[in-house]
């Protein structure tokens, strides 16, 4: 396999709150290779969004800070770069797509002027060339009548169209890596499907790598090659997508998959549940963070934190992983 495009090692991100210092991300490591889509999945507060932001140096500071670890992009450590160096990387090499398209677009400028700004700054295009490039990008993300849409304001577009514009802007400088944070969550079901398909197609077309941050396992299953499941600031399982859905090894992944209504026969009324709730990040147990809610807990789980270890095609952080027969 080729060298990883992005390589995160022992990343620790802390937030200072009134009650104390919280570790939102606690020592995670992973690689992203060129041209692949990696899913980062977990429930709210698990640290997935902060991880995505940290790759672009966008962790709000204060209250947040990167307290340890490295984020290497093409061999260069992004942690500790100053704002102007990060800005040079952001947009050009790594781009981000946010959940809420309306907040990512400036309401007082037309779609075209927001796009040509970026194109002229990073690609040195003339005004005329930039406009042509913007129209072409809009067409590529599936916006009908792009030569007309380019002169419209964000509020004139529907939610799905806006998110396409945001995607087009993210693509404008041919980034090598896109971090997409819940890119379809704010959209309606039918629009969500269109945008997701478009995103997968564009990822292949532009030959970029993508990190897809989401809580929706359905989205992960459709779009990703590989996925990482996060729980309480740690990666608990890392697996190729088919393996994860067919043979989840961490009891948390298994519980999440089991509790999706779509995977449960509709005649059966009782849904399997993961009992209890996510522990408070300020009062984490000394051992495995999932132990309290786990049906496969061993004595060891209460005193020792499991690390990611290979298990078949996956890597799992569990002393007593689920075994699913092939």
């Amino acid at each position: 396999m080729s060298a990883p495009l992005l390589s995160v090692r022992d990343l620790v991100i802390e937030f200072t709150t009134e009650q104390g210092v919280v570790r939102a991300v606690d020592g995670i490591s992973f690689d992203v290779f060129p041209n692949e889509t990696v899913g980062l999945v977990g429930e709210s507060g698990c640290g997935k969004t902060v991880t995505g932001l940290s790759i672009l140096g966008l962790v709000p500071r204060p209250p947040g800070r990167i307290a340890g670890g490295r984020i290497e992009f093409e061999g260069r450590d992004l942690v500790g770069l100053d704002e102007s160096e990060l800005r040079a990387i952001r947009g050009r090499d790594i781009a981000m797509i946010f959940q809420e398209p309306m907040t990512a677009l400036n309401p007082v400028f037309t779609v075209g002027s927001q796009m040509t700004d970026v194109l002229r700054r990073y690609k040195g295009l003339s005004r005329r060339q930039a406009r042509a490039a913007a129209i072409e990008l809009l067409a590529r993300v599936g916006i009908p009548a792009p030569d007309r849409r380019v002169d419209e304001y964000p509020h004139q577009l529907s939610g799905g169209m806006r998110q396409r514009v945001v995607i087009a802007m993210a693509l404008s400088c041919d980034p090598k890596l896109i971090v997409a944070d819940e890119p379809t969550t704010a959209l309606d079901v039918t629009t969500q499907a269109q945008v997701l398909e478009q995103l997968v197609r564009l990822q292949e077309e532009f030959r970029m790598a993508m990190i897809l941050v989401t809580h929706d396992l359905g989205v992960i299953a459709e779009a990703c090659d590989r996925a990482m499941v996060m729980y309480c600031g740690r990666i608990v399982e890392q697996a190729p997508i088919e393996e994860l859905f067919a043979r989840p090894r961490h009891p948390y992944s298994a519980g999440l998959l089991a509790s999706i209504p779509a995977r449960v026969d509709d005649e059966r009324r009782e849904l399997p549940v993961i009992p209890g709730m996510v522990p408070d990040l300020l009062h984490l147990p000394p051992g495995c963070r999932f132990a309290d809610r786990c049906g496969r807990r061993l004595a060891r789980c209460d005193v020792e934190q499991p690390g990611l270890a290979p298990a078949g095609e996956s890597r799992v952080a569990c002393f007593n992983p689920v075994e699913t027969p092939r």
Binding site: V273, G276, D280, L282, H283, D292
Partner: protein
């Protein structure tokens, strides 16, 4: 739901970190950690003590007496010296604190009450007649120049010492009412208000039980801001001869000082302006701290 799931939720109850506390407790806790705000509060309390002492006749009783010669320099007997006719400037400036507090408290309390009630009614009935009337009234009162209004009211009330209060209350409620109206318009479409409707809670109960308590933070902050505005206006009005007539005020002292400053005597001017500056600054710090502590967007 199966039994183990239910009991697991039970066992956890609420997050272990949370103490039993209201939003007010949280705000108080935040306020206590705000150094500038706490310093402001301490200074305000000192001033307030001084004012209480004046009301109870503990000190500054001799503010009107001729106690020494003309323009005496500061001494152990007269800390800030004496004025043109030999009255003790320190006693006069301390007495003025009580005047400031009297005007500030009366205006802040009444203007906030008026603004809160009218703003809440306008907000809850937004788009209907009540709202249109209140909004129209705010527009009209806003368009009259303040000092013209004071002069008009003072004239109409034939020299009544409360003309100043009436003028201030009738204009200062407007900002509060605008803020409360906006907040209520926002609140009344929240789901907990809809939930109250669904339960069958009568409309006026919804306003007083569910909506008004959620505007208290605005009222509290606004009342401190109104207080400061009232004190400043009192000084300016007294200086112009439209305010305090029978008592003593920093404004009157500053008016007195206009002759003195030319003669090179700064006792009145310094005493009045420094004391006023201290009180206004302290109040501003307190009001900023309150705003931070009470902002519901920051109290999660």
């Amino acid at each position: 739901m199966n039994a183990p799931a239910a009991s697991a939720v039970d066992a956890n109850g609420a997050p272990a970190a949370s103490r039993r506390e209201t939003l007010w407790h949280k705000a108080l806790w935040k306020l206590r950690r705000d150094r500038a705000g706490m310093a402001g509060l301490a200074v305000v309390m000192l001033y307030f003590l001084a004012a209480i002492g004046v009301w109870l006749g503990w000190w500054a009783t001799g503010w009107a007496e001729v106690a020494g010669g003309k323009w005496e320099a500061p001494s152990a007997a007269h800390w800030f010296g004496t004025n043109l006719i030999g009255q003790d400037i320190f006693a006069r400036s301390v007495y003025s604190i009580s005047t400031a507090f009297e005007v500030g408290l009366v205006v802040a309390v009444l203007a906030t009450l008026l603004g809160g009630v009218l703003g809440a009614l306008a907000g809850f009935f937004a788009g209907r007649f009540t709202d249109e009337l209140v909004v129209w009234l705010m527009g009209v009162l806003d368009s009259i120049p303040f000092y013209l209004l004071v002069a008009a009211i003072a004239f109409a009330m034939a020299g009544n010492p409360y003309a100043m209060h009436v003028a201030m209350i009738s204009t200062f409620w407007i900002t509060t009412a605008r803020l409360v109206r906006g907040e209520v318009i926002k609140l009344r479409q929240l789901e907990f208000v809809e939930a109250a409707h669904a339960i069958g809670v009568p409309e006026y109960t919804i306003v007083f039980r569910h909506i008004l308590p959620n505007t208290l933070h605005i009222l509290l902050v606004q009342s401190t801001i109104t207080f400061v505005a009232a004190i400043k206006s009192e000084v300016i009005l007294s200086f112009l001869g439209l305010g305090v007539k029978d008592g003593m005020s920093w404004g009157l002292m500053i008016a007195e000082s206009t002759i003195e400053v030319l003669a090179g005597f700064f006792g009145n001017f310094l005493a009045a302006s420094l004391l006023m500056f201290g009180l206004v600054m302290a109040f501003n710090f307190l009001s900023d701290a309150l705003q931070d502590a009470l902002d519901p967007r920051q109290v999660s």
